[in-house]
């Protein structure tokens, strides 16, 4: 028999939660009192509910709705009262007899005596305000309509596990995780209730910085309850996906912290939990969470991804990424502009490309050189690439294509390819450099330098090699992120933000879903995520650092900055305007460097350098 009046009061009683889809934002609560609540229950009206009785609770069937509602209120109150009213619960271990649920709930409620207004939204807003800025609006609005359901602090999800020192106790926790999972899977379908519109124009859905609250959380939200309970006593409320989104982020961070503390059992439990939460999300967040969860799982189970994947595969992925979103194009166009300006009067030019890949950067440069007033210079390109399997000479193929293009547009062209495992293996003498009077050299590196940070001394060696090449200009494009800190949790948090923005921008790219391009672009990013999170040591090559870091490093190596001019800025802005979803992209100038970002978050930075005086 269904609880009809549960629906009418808008409180998802969690009983066959399928019927709470009445279009309001309220999710259903699966009361943890009994998984019995999830299924059709048989009961004899008036008497004790049988299923609950099995578990040791005595609740009148007729009271069930009432108790459920009170439990929700209790949870909410506990959540809002977290800072103030609840700390005493930790120290004052008064135990109530949980078998009399009604009585217990009532006494809890009256004790806590909720004086605070149920301003859940206000609470949430304050928590996330400093980080999200404008995006808090999207968070709090739906919540402000839900005065009743508020899931409080997510740390409580685990810490509220009854029993002294419930956390960390890996065994009991994973067991509870499992039981909680059982509860969650059935209403799993109902989370489609989500009315979220993670529209493309909203900033990334990340609520953060509660990593700090996470670490200080051990507290005061543990409820001491005696008895032989096998289930967590706190009802778990699954609300609409924005709420779950925040919860998802918290779970990800909790898992990362567990990994950092080497608490692998807990981490394992959390990773599985993430999968469930992710299912309820809209696409960008779900994909990001899935990739991060996978990377965490790899780290936990020590199944490290193979680094030496077929470069043609990674090139193909990169091509799709090139086509889908403007980041690579931005990188190429801005670097080309700087090179073009440096080559303004040269008659013979030589470009050394640290990562040739498919050579997509050079057609545009060659065309601009071809149309240079005064005619094109002689153009020499040296491309460096990783070793290929099967002895296929990709570099030569690319060189040949470029040569064809050069012939078509009338530019004298010469190409040389070098295969190197790492840029640090490169010796300037190998490059057949001619004296600066004869030819002007430009060195170009798009997303290549950060890999050198994986081995000590690599970057210094390369920078000194670059100096030995006597370039007129060095163009460097790198990710604008700090993924190389010493602490894993910090790296993880940073990466979560960064890739959320990236995935968000992919969603906004206006591609029809599903689209192969989109999927491949996401895979491309997913591999980076995997590397950042799951790998360590020399394998972890995606060691992104911010522009500030790079500036310091490059300047101290003896280079001076070159300002990218307004032409580059204009070109970049125009290029971005061409992309669907172009509203979200922003070009910024920072001390002569150009940054491309999605909304407020800079993602890519282009900088140009010359030899120091």
């Amino acid at each position: 028999m269904k609880r009809d009046h549960q629906e009418s009061c808008g409180v998802g009683g969690g009983i066959a939660g399928y019927d709470t889809k009445s279009g309001n934002n309220k999710g259903e609560s699966s009361s943890s009192m009994g998984k019995g609540k999830l299924w059709e229950e048989e009961q004899d009206p008036g008497g004790m509910d049988e299923l609950l009785a099995v578990l040791g609770y005595k609740v009148r069937s007729s009271d069930m709705a009432d108790v459920a509602q009170k439990l929700e209120q209790l949870e909410m109150v506990m959540g809002t009262a977290q800072e103030d009213g609840i700390s005493y619960l930790c120290s004052d271990t008064v135990h109530y007899n949980p078998s009399d649920l009604s009585g217990w709930v009532q006494s809890m409620l009256s004790e806590l005596n909720p004086p605070m207004c149920l301003d859940a939204s206000g609470m949430l807003q304050n928590q996330h305000d400093p980080v999200l800025g404008s995006s808090t609006v999207t968070f709090s609005n739906p919540l402000s309509h839900k005065s009743e359901i508020f899931s409080g602090d997510y740390d409580c999800d685990l810490r509220a596990i009854p029993g002294v020192a419930a956390y960390p106790q890996p065994d009991s926790i994973s067991e509870r995780e499992n039981s909680r999972k059982r509860m969650k899977t059935s209403p799993g379908s109902d989370t489609s209730n989500a009315t979220t519109s993670n529209s493309n124009s909203t900033p990334p859905l990340l609520a953060d910085a509660s990593s700090s609250s996470l670490s200080s959380s051990s507290p005061p939200s543990t409820i001491m309850i005696s008895g032989n309970l096998s289930e967590p006593s706190r009802p778990v409320v699954l609300i609409d996906s924005q709420e779950t989104g925040v919860r998802l982020v918290h779970t990800l961070l909790a898992c990362a912290q567990a990994v950092q503390l080497e608490n692998l059992k807990l981490a394992e439990a959390l990773v599985k939990h993430i999968g469930l939460l992710a299912a309820s999300q809209a696409s960008a967040m779900r994909k990001v969470a899935t990739y991060f969860a996978e990377a965490l799982a790899r780290r936990i189970y020590k199944i490290y991804p193979q680094e030496c994947l077929d470069p043609t595969y990674s090139d193909a992925l990169e091509m799709h990424f090139y086509e889908t979103c403007p980041y690579l194009k931005f990188a190429h166009f801005t670097a080309n502009q700087a090179i073009l300006e440096a080559f303004a009067t040269a008659s013979r030019v030589h470009v050394i490309d640290f990562g040739l890949k498919q050579g997509m950067q050079w057609p545009a440069l060659m065309q601009a050189l071809a149309l240079r007033p005064g005619g094109p210079p002689a153009f020499r390109l040296t491309g460096i690439g990783p070793p290929q399997p099967n002895n296929t000479d990709t570099l030569q193929q690319v060189g040949w294509k470029l040569a064809q293009l050069a012939g078509t547009i009338g530019v004298e062209f010469e190409f040389r390819g070098f295969v190197a495992n790492s840029l640090a293996d490169l010796q300037p003498e190998m490059l057949d450099l001619r004296p600066p009077e004869e030819e002007t050299v430009a060195v170009n590196s798009v997303f290549e330098l950060h890999r050198l940070l994986a081995r000590p001394g690599g970057i210094d060696k390369v920078l000194s090699s670059v100096k030995a090449m006597k370039p007129k200009i060095v163009t460097i494009v790198e990710q604008e992120a700090n993924h190389n800190g010493p602490v894993f949790l910090d790296r993880f948090t940073e990466a979560l933000h960064y890739y959320s923005s990236l995935f968000d921008s992919l969603e906004g790219s206006g591609l029809a879903v599903p689209s192969q391009d989109l999927v491949m672009s996401e895979l491309y990013l997913g591999r980076q995520i995997c590397n950042v999170v799951a790998c360590e040591g020399a394998d972890r090559v995606e060691r992104h650092e911010t522009l500030t870091h790079w500036r310091t490093r490059i300047e101290s190596s003896g280079f001076d900055p070159v300002h990218l001019g307004s032409n580059a800025f204009k070109q970049a802005s125009m290029l971005l305007a061409l992309f669907a979803g172009g509203d979200g992209y922003r070009v910024e100038e920072n001390n002569g460097c150009l940054l491309l970002g999605w909304h407020t978050r800079p993602l890519i930075a282009t900088s140009a350098w010359k030899l120091g005086g």
Partner: protein, 172 residues
């Protein structure tokens, strides 16, 4: 000879032999002058009228005028490059039209084709660069028998995948 300018050219069966009709098809130079002044869409439509018009409309110089109509004379050498990379018609269809319409829309101008919207040198440069990338991609496909580039919106020509973003409709 009477010039019935307001009559569309139709050879009506009951036209009197005495009155000589003006048939535009007899005056290709005038036709070209007229077509030169059309906007892109009309030029495309004109190409569908009859075989003669189709042949004329395919003439690249018409499209060259279209591309550079509102811009000061392009630097010398542009023609050689553009022709080598595929011609002005392709340049227009693949790059210029989307660029103008996207950027024009963003600037809240009217139909950027028709109105004398000034097309800046930067936009020219950008379009040419994208065009070059397009050519390069097609090289790759021809050479390696690569996977089909999903045919974009440009008049029947399949555009290279890297310019797919230009073919996607923009939600303005």
């Amino acid at each position: 000879m009477h010039h019935h300018h307001h009559h569309p050219h139709v050879s009506s069966p009951h036209a009197t032999q005495k009155r000589l009709k003006f048939c535009i098809n007899d005056h290709i130079d005038i036709l070209i002058e007229i077509l030169k002044r059309l906007d892109g869409r009309s030029l495309g439509v004109a190409a569908c009228v009859c075989r003669l018009w189709c042949t004329i409309a395919r003439n690249d110089s018409l499209w060259e005028d279209l591309c550079f109509r509102h811009v000061s004379p392009p630097p010398s050498g542009v023609r050689a490059v553009v022709v080598a990379l595929g011609g002005y018609k392709r340049l227009y269809m693949v790059c210029v039209r989307p660029v103008l319409s996207r950027l024009g829309r963003r600037l809240r101008l009217g139909d950027s084709d028709r109105v004398g919207r000034v097309w800046t040198r930067d936009e020219v440069q950008l379009s040419l660069s994208l065009f070059c990338v397009d050519y390069y991609e097609r090289l790759g496909r021809l050479g390696g028998g690569g996977g089909g580039s999903g045919g974009g919106g440009g008049g029947g020509d399949t555009s290279a995948a890297s310019l797919m973003f230009l073919c996607k409709p923009v939600n303005v």
